[in-house]
């Protein structure tokens, strides 16, 4: 297995994952979409609603607002000590009280006042309702942890997709420079250089095979790797994509641990953590040793030289 990060921003991550079976990467994709928990507004108490919208519409809109999630403080309410009633351990509250100062005022997520400063809407510009002058909305809302399987509002990713790594080859001896492949390719994989088609952006290819079909002289060959992938994760902003991926792996691992314990007979010892720790420790240890040694020799040159001379003797 080999992973290389291709592109990384606050909300997106693109990486190349090599030597992984497609079933594994697909299961992780399914888990990230449907079974990785995030926070979303689940309960809305409407105290006053003078807007033209029904209470349900406002509640639905609030539910779909992506919230920044904090895993350390909250537990899934069904696992909570309050048994799903809702307490400070499993839910984060919001209040909203707006009165439109003028016609056409738009209440946004910026008007939602969070009780927990760490669980806040991803953006404060998401519109909730347009109000006429003097119309009021007073709301209490509660966010809980949930999974995408139950409702799409709990999905941490807007996109988690992978594709097999494409290989596009042009036989320059066969290519007659008809330029048709450049025109037909909607992903701009080809370019004309010295009257020959040249592959300039292989990674962008979607394996649609249009170029192969249009080439009259059969100069183009498109193939793909079965076990190498380009994985793209696009977060809603609820969590950084790196955290989503790691949390997804956690959820995946827990599934199989549960499966093994549920089966009859002896439970095989699953100790992948130990060899992992050893592997990690081995390259790390010499590094750690080197680091403190270097400053020590600078500051305590005398003691260092003494110990050296002692050893020599």
């Amino acid at each position: 297995m080999k992973v290389t990060v291709l592109e990384q921003t606050d909300n997106t991550l693109q990486m190349r994952v090599e030597e992984v079976r497609p079933g594994l990467i697909n299961a992780i994709r399914r888990i990230m979409l449907a079974e990785t928990p995030t926070m979303a507004i689940e309960e809305v108490v409407i105290l006053e609603n003078q807007s033209p919208l029904f209470d349900e519409i406002i509640a639905h809109r609030l539910g779909l607002v992506p919230l920044k999630t904090n895993y350390d403080q909250y537990v899934v309410s069904s696992d909570c000590t309050c048994e799903g009633v809702g307490c400070h351990l499993c839910q984060a509250g919001f209040t909203m009280e707006v009165e439109a100062p003028e016609d056409g005022f738009i209440a946004t997520t910026g008007d939602l006042k969070p009780q927990d400063p760490e669980v806040v809407p991803v953006s404060d510009k998401i519109p909730i309702a347009k109000l006429a002058k003097g119309q009021r909305i007073v709301i209490e809302a509660y966010a809980r942890l949930g999974i995408g399987q139950d409702h799409a509002k709990w999905q941490p990713v807007s996109t988690m997709a992978y594709k097999m790594i494409p290989h596009v080859k042009v036989d320059t001896n066969k290519c007659d420079g008809c330029k048709e492949c450049v025109e037909v390719c909607f992903r701009q994989v080809f370019e004309m250089q010295k009257d020959k088609a040249v592959v300039v952006d292989e990674k962008n290819c979607t394996l649609c095979n249009l170029c192969v079909e249009t080439c009259d002289v059969q100069a183009i060959a498109v193939s793909h790797d079965e076990n190498n992938f380009i994985v793209t994760i696009e977060s809603t902003g609820a969590l950084p994509p790196m955290t989503i991926f790691e949390k997804g792996l956690d959820v995946f691992r827990k599934k199989y641990e549960e499966l093994i314990t549920l089966l009859p007979g002896r439970v095989p010892k699953v100790t992948p953590k130990k060899p992992r720790a050893k592997k990690k420790a081995l390259p790390k240890k010499p590094k750690k040793k080197k680091e403190p040694k270097a400053p020590a020799s600078k500051t305590k040159t005398k003691t260092a030289s003494k110990s050296k001379t002692k050893k020599k003797k």
């Binding site: 992984v20 697909n26 691992r253 599934k255 953590k273």
Partner: protein, 94 residues
Amino acid sequence: MNINIIKNTSRELELEIEGEGHTLCNPLREILFEDAHLTFAGYSVPHPLTRSARFIVRTDGKVKAINSFKKAAKKLIERTEELRTEFKKALKAA
């Protein structure tokens, strides 16, 4: 997750996994194919709206079917951890 064992002999294991579907079964089946003693591995999701799957594993008899099933699950956990370490390494390098 809940497991109902329908058949458990030395050559064959048939079980119903309640509350799980393709996410759990497909990678397991794929890993089972790597087992040299395996003669058959497959699963089906009887209905897409009920969360349950039926898994069948058959071996040549030299290894108990249930043991190769457990081994596959263990292998998967190890691979996940491998992917995690590689992922962390890649993040550091980037």
